[in-house]
Symmetry: C2
Subunit: 155 residues, 2 copies
Amino acid sequence: MARPTKKAKAEALTELLLTMFRANNLTLAWGDRLVSPVGLTSARWQILGAIVLVDRPQPVAWLARDLGANRQNVQRIINDLKKDELVSFEPNPHHKRAQLVVLTPKGQQTYEAAINLYSPLVEALAEDFSAEDIGAAQRVLSALRTKLETLAADG
Amino acid sequence: MARPTKKAKAEALTELLLTMFRANNLTLAWGDRLVSPVGLTSARWQILGAIVLVDRPQPVAWLARDLGANRQNVQRIINDLKKDELVSFEPNPHHKRAQLVVLTPKGQQTYEAAINLYSPLVEALAEDFSAEDIGAAQRVLSALRTKLETLAADG
DNA sequence: CGTATATTGACATTATCATGTCAAATATGG
DNA sequence: CCATATTTGACATGATAATGTCAATATACG
C-alpha cells in the first residue's frame, strides 16, 4: 500500500523512540568523555549552558525549569559548581533567599574550553547528515516534546 | 546563502541534540505514567520488551548488551522482575551459571497489558507526524547511534 | 590436555536522580 | 493591612544508575 497506514506510522514512531533512547544515552556518554578533560560532565555542561543562554542571571529554580529538570538536582550540581568556583551567587534584589547564579571567569573559561572541544566534533558529525533530515528530525522531536509537555501538565 | 554552511548544520545538530535530551526524558516519564497501572516502569518495560524480542531465551548479560545498558543494572531489574514473578530463569545447557531469562505467563500478560495501553496512544501521537519526517528522524538518530557506538568502541 | 583469556552473575561502593518535607520569603486577593 | 497560596533553597530519604572487583565458568589456542 502506498499510503502508510496508522499502524505502520505508529510502528515507525515506536522504532524511532527506541532509537532515541539509545542515541540519547550514547550522546551523553560521548559528551561525558568529551568534556572530562576540562573537569565537566554532560550534566554540568548542560547547566553551564543554561546559565550562559539566559539574558540575565536567574535563581536556581528558574534554571531548573528552563532545563526541564529537577529543582533539587540542579541545586546540587550548581552547589558543586560553586565549590569548584565555576559559578557564584549574587544577591537578588527581588528575593532575599533566591540568589542569582552567574558564571565566574573560571566558569566562562571552562565553558568556552568545552565549546572548543565540542565544535569541531559536532561539525564533523553534522557532515554525515543532510540539512533536510536534521530539520525533519528537529520537527519531529520538538513536536513530540511539546505534545508530551502538554500531556504531563494536564494530565 | 542557499547551501547550508558547515556551521549552520552543526548548530542545527546541536539544537537537535538538546531537543533529544528533553524529548527522551519526557518520553520516559510519559512511559512511567503509562504503564504504572500494570506495575511497570519504563525501564522494566524496556527490559521485558528485550526479552520478548529475541528469538531464543538469553542470559542477562546478552540482554544487557542488546539494550546497550549496564549489565549490573539489568541484572538488578531482572532480579526484581523475578521477585514479582514476571520472569523466571531456566537452565542454560551451554552455561552453568548464566541462566536463561524467560517470561512467565504473568510476565506475558503484563507485557501485553502494557502494549494495549501503549498502542492507541502511540497511534494518536503518530497522527501528528508525516511518515517522511518520522523516517528522516529515524535515519538521523540511527546514524548518530551507529557513529557514537563506533566512537565509543574505538576511541 | 593445559593454559591463557573472556564471559557471567554476585557483591560492594559511589554517584546521580527522584520525591517529600520544611521554614523563609514572596506574591496574591481581599 | 491581613490571610492565604506559591515559590525557593535546604535537608532527608529512598530509588536508580555507574563502576570496580571477585570467583565460577566457558572459550580459544597450542
